[in-house]
């Protein structure tokens, strides 16, 4: 069980080599297979996640949630997906067509690219990049542009307001997000995600870096535009923010990308703070799934528990609380590392 996926990959590459393909083409085919698998997992996962989110919100609000299709309403999302796929694709006449059409594609591509560096099990990472964590942060920063493109090209004041809010929020929260991760990097001594997981074989970094985890969690919620920080698409005031003019599959792509980002950010949290794929008894790829899902449940719990906060409060939380706290955390971590080194630890 442990090496299930690795064995599948090895069998495939052996078979391709036997067919007389060169190493270059074998690697290329394997890469395509890996990405296809990731995209399939993401897409199917979103079906479960949307159902889970609706069930949890129902539970928290003392409702039943979806309960008509299938046991516990679990086929509801599949029906919704089919509806979205068959809906008419409306493009309003006054939009900037090219950007309007490319924005959802750009968003989903960037979100999927995040999965390249996340270790999904022992020796299971698409690209074991030396600067993996930095890759995650910098590629993640591109999602801002997709939302800006969507908001601007829609030519609608709600869309533009939503995009502006989203950009202001995401740029502000990128700073505490990156700073909070620095504490982990300092202890692990590497930006490579596999090395960070390996450094946690004795003790999880949540124990050593609790402040960093809290900062990361709050900043990540804001980066994801999720409640209580969902100002960009605050539906009571902005209809649907940057996505107001989108219908059918294009809208669904945004939705898909948001959940893709949620999974990626949760998987990163599991990797950095909860020991990644390490765990007893169960195979490693199952551990990362369990941890990611537990963290996502906390994200959902937060979303449906706290009320949305005001825009200026949101900004002052980032600049006046999270940035100083994460800077102090870096200082304390640095001093702590030196003290422990001095004690010969």
């Amino acid at each position: 069980m442990e090496n299930l996926f690795i064995n599948i990959a090895r069998t495939l590459s052996d078979w391709l080599l036997q067919l007389g393909l060169s190493h270059f083409w074998t690697d290329l085919v394997l890469l395509v297979v890996q990405w296809t698998a990731i995209i399939l997992i993401i897409t199917l996962n979103v079906i479960i996640l949307v159902w889970l989110e609706r069930k949890i919100s129902g539970f928290i609000q003392q409702r039943l949630g979806p309960n008509r299709l299938g046991p516990f309403g679990c086929f509801q999302t599949i029906a919704d997906t089919l509806k979205l796929l068959t809906k008419e694709d409306i493009i309003p006449s006054q939009t900037d067509k090219l950007i309007f059409k490319t924005a959802p594609m750009f968003f989903i591509i960037v979100s999927v690219l995040l999965y390249a560096v996340i270790p999904m099990g022992k020796d299971m990472v698409v690209v074991d990049l030396n600067v993996g964590l930095f890759y995650f942060i910098s590629v993640g920063s591109l999602t801002t542009i997709a939302i800006l493109m969507a908001g601007w090209s829609s030519n609608n004041k709600w869309s533009l307001l939503g995009a502006m809010r989203s950009v202001a929020q995401m740029i502000s929260y990128e700073i505490p997000l990156a700073f909070s991760l620095l504490g982990v990097v300092m202890i692990a001594g590497s930006l490579n995600l596999s090395a960070i997981v390996a450094a946690q074989s004795n003790i999880w970094f949540i124990v050593l870096q609790p402040v960093a985890f809290v900062t990361y969690f709050i900043a990540a919620t804001a980066e994801l535009n999720r409640g209580p920080f969902d100002m960009p698409e605050a539906e009571q005031e902005l209809t649907a923010g940057a996505y107001t003019e989108y219908t059918g599959m294009r809208w669904a792509l945004f939705f898909l990308a948001e959940y893709t980002n949620l999974v990626a950010v949760s998987a990163l949290a599991a990797t950095l703070f909860f020991g990644g794929w390490q765990g007893p008894l169960l195979p490693s790829w199952m551990w990362i799934i369990i941890k990611t899902y537990l963290i996502m449940l906390v994200f959902m719990w937060m979303k449906w528990t706290f009320p949305r906060i005001r825009m200026d409060h949101l900004m002052s939380l980032s600049w006046k609380v999270l940035v100083p706290v994460s800077l102090i955390n870096i200082l304390v971590t640095g001093v702590g590392i030196e003290i422990f080194k001095g004690m010969g630890w």
């Binding site: 060169s22 270059f24 950007i99 990049l129 600067v131 890759y135 910098s138 591109l142 601007w152 740029i171």
Partner: protein, 172 residues
């Protein structure tokens, strides 16, 4: 086969970068220009990756494509007229076309001569380590720490200055 593949990858990336750079210049819609600029930055980042400088490429994406371009778009939105074509009008007279073209050619020739006349040193004998981040960090916070800190203070002062300018004097 593999050797050709390297130059093929380089050619594809360069063609992408140049095409998006042309998009910046030729696009009539100024927002399209700004978005094409993002693609240009991404192309340059890809070139860095191709050369094995993954850290530099990621900095390029984070700073230029992720942050600076957003600032550019915001600046454009602030000064934009309701009709985006009116914000970016074609140059009015033939004379300015001529002068602009002449200046552009002069710069091009200057850059071309500078490239042609420079004696490029041969590649340093040992290739860079795989862990370029560590080397970079040691250099930045070791040998060049004064320059590094000076740049940091300069940026901090610029940020504080911008905030003061934007907020205005509170005690006039």
């Amino acid at each position: 086969m593999i050797m050709n593949m390297d130059s093929l990858v380089f050619l594809i990336i360069s063609a992408f970068t140049i095409a998006s750079a042309l998009g910046v210049v030729l696009s009539r819609n100024i927002i399209h220009s700004a978005l094409a600029l993002i693609l240009t930055f991404l192309g340059v980042a890809m070139n860095f990756f191709d050369l094995g400088a993954s850290f530099l490429g990621l900095v390029q994406i984070l700073v230029y494509a992720g942050a600076i371009s957003v600032l550019i778009i915001f600046a454009i939105m602030l000064v934009m007229k309701p009709d985006s074509a009116a914000t970016n009008p074609p140059t009015p007279s033939r004379d300015t076309h001529f002068i602009g073209g002449l200046l552009a050619w002069l710069v091009m020739i200057g850059v071309g001569m500078a490239i042609g006349l420079t004696r490029w040193p041969a590649m340093a004998s040992e290739p860079a380590e795989a862990d370029a981040v560590g080397t970079l960090a040691t250099l930045l916070l070791g040998n060049y720490v004064v320059a590094f800190e000076a740049a940091a203070i300069l940026l901090l002062l610029a940020a504080v200055g911008a905030i003061i300018l934007a907020k205005g004097d509170e005690n006039p």
